[in-house]
């Protein structure tokens, strides 16, 4: 009933006290800004990592010897350091004995090499991937030109290579088809049989791969290294079953006694994201704590300004009461005003926070990130602050005696 009146009065008051309204609004905005900026940045980081992880495709997991974070924790020294490598033969056993998979690839990596083509040479930042044919789809490497690896490439340990898109770009002129060219790596010549479509990713030059048959890799660099097993389940539904099966097979071939922990590690997008979330959890908690303190301070500011406002407008309150305003309508008028202040601050904070957070999104070259959940949290928090800290001043206003209020100078 007095809703329109309350809105008009609230904005009228804000307008006639521009500076102090602005300062109070600003204090709320800072609190909300800190939440939204940090959460949006983390969101951007998470999307980016998820995007980068799409290297690990849908329903795909990876088995390797160590956790990504090996070296952490007191138990690591005792158990994990002495882990045996995952051998090519163990990998082949897993390939042979696991059902329900779409692709299951074996791979082995070597980092930091340089590749030459004619007089051109790359920086020593190319990674060699020794792969089985199925390893390419599990890494989401789609063939752009030429072909991928075949079983006969492996059987004959052919010196052939599929180039990552960034690597191909670094070596060859634009729109040059490198298929059939010979490139050299460590004095050995490889024939280019294909290129991978560009993937993009978190840190730009992620597609600098030199993909060769895994057998060729072993012949060149030796077999005494641990391989990764890349498994893509047929569907979401049998993902867990396939993972259990791979674990079972691997435990059997590695003679892990029942009751012992796995002596290998399994990753999926989910587990990597979980890891990211665990890491950022404390950042989020810390941000929320800081934001809560900032909003508390802002709330005290609101209460202060509202108490001043009530005192200044004592006469107005008297007039309103004389012409029939009930306590309830006075309370709602002043509460409305404090909520308007805090919501206005909240909206400004949200907009600035989104802008700041999306600077990171732009740097990471991902689309704009708008986390509706945290925006809702910000709005609810502002409403709460407005009501919580506006209640006492509003109650005080409604309790004024109309006679005294009318006489107030």
């Amino acid at each position: 009933m007095y809703f329109g009146e309350s809105i008009a009065t609230a904005f009228g008051t804000l307008r006639s006290n521009r500076l102090r309204s602005f300062l109070t609004v600003l204090s709320v905005a800072i609190g909300v800004f800190s939440i939204i900026a940090v959460m949006t940045s983390l969101g951007a980081l998470q999307y980016s990592i998820e995007g980068g992880l799409s290297a690990l495709g849908a329903n795909t997991f990876q088995v390797q010897k160590y956790d990504n974070q090996h070296g952490g924790g007191p138990g690591w020294q005792a158990h994990a350091r002495n882990r045996k490598d995952i051998t090519y033969e163990q990998g082949l056993a897993v390939v042979e004995r696991t059902r329900g998979v779409k692709h299951i690839g074996l791979e082995v990596w070597k980092f930091g090499v340089e590749v030459r083509w004619r007089s051109k040479k790359t920086d020593p930042n190319v990674s060699i991937a020794g792969e089985t044919p199925d390893g390419l789809p599990t890494n989401q490497w789609e063939i752009d030109q030429g072909r991928g690896l075949t079983q006969s490439d492996l059987d004959l340990t052919r010196k052939v290579v599929v180039l990552g898109s960034d690597l191909a770009q670094a070596l060859f002129p634009p729109s040059y088809n490198p298929v059939g060219e010979m490139v050299s790596l460590g004095g050995v010549h490889y024939k280019v049989i294909g290129t991978v479509a560009p993937q993009g990713g978190l840190f730009g030059n992620q597609d600098r791969y030199f993909i060769i048959p895994i057998t060729t890799f072993f012949e060149r660099y030796g077999k005494n290294r641990s391989i990764h097993i890349m498994v893509q389940a047929e569907s979401r539904e049998n993902f867990d079953a396939v993972q259990d099966e791979v674990i079972g097979v691997l435990r059997a071939v590695r003679d892990v006694p029942p009751g012992e922990d796995n002596d290998f590690a399994i990753f999926s997008n989910e587990s990597l994201i979980r890891q990211f979330n665990e890491t950022t959890y404390y950042v989020k908690i810390g941000t929320m704590a800081i934001a809560a303190v900032a909003l508390l301070a802002a709330g005290i500011g609101i209460m202060n300004i509202m108490l001043v406002s009530v005192t200044e407008r004592t006469r107005e309150i008297g007039i309103r009461k004389a012409v029939g305003a009930t306590r309830h309508s006075i309370v709602s008028q002043f509460l409305f005003e404090s909520v308007v202040i805090s919501l206005l601050g909240g909206l400004i904070g949200i907009m600035l926070g989104l802008a700041a957070g999306n600077v990171l999104a732009m740097v990471l070259e991902i689309g704009p990130v708008v986390d509706v959940g945290w925006i809702a949290v910000g709005i609810v928090a502002c409403c709460f602050v407005g009501v919580a800290f506006g209640t006492y001043p509003a109650w005080k206003a409604s309790n004024l005696d109309p006679i005294d209020a009318l006489r107030y100078e």
Partner: protein
Amino acid sequence: MPIIHIKDVVKNYDMGAELVHALSGVSLDIEANEYVAIMGPSGSGKSTLMNVVGCLDTPTSGLYDFEGQNVGDLNDNELAEIRNRKIGFVFQTFNLLPRSTALHNVELPLIYAGVPSHLRREKAEKALREVGLGDRMTHKPNELSGGQRQRVAVARALVNDPSIILADEPTGNLDSKTGIEIMQLFSDLHGEGNTIILVTHEEDIAAHAHRIIRLFDGKIASDEKVEKPLIYEH
């Protein structure tokens, strides 16, 4: 039945150290369409009587029936509703909302009465035209003269068709010429059937009323009809 029936009303203020007897046993009846002036020196209790009559305050003891309803039984919200619908206040210091237009000031009682906005505007415009401010509706109080401000206040008092108009020294802040204009307005309103209660300490203002009640020391000293009320020719 009188609009206002007051019987043995006592109002004491507890000022901590001492008890102030503002009203000590006042009885009076006011009928519809009366034009009553309440007079008395300062401290006589006339302001307290006006606050009680205006339902801004409740008596310490005694009976106050407003249109047959015992005001002493009413809670805060019910008092607010009576003030809103039955009583129109006109104050010495005008008491307009300084940042609002004349129109919005007049609309205020209607807002609290829950009148829908289009009807509100219509009624407020009509009341402003009635007091001769049809061309000043969008002016704010500081853009109006003292007399015009008091007219806005009168329009605000009228807008809800109240049972009584309660004017507390309505000419106190006006020069004598403007004061006469306002008194003329009250005479006109009385002529249209309104009930007017005027609180004043000025004899020549009270002379416009048809009945004068004089208070002294919280009691009614005299209550008499005016033989020939002062009426200005238009």
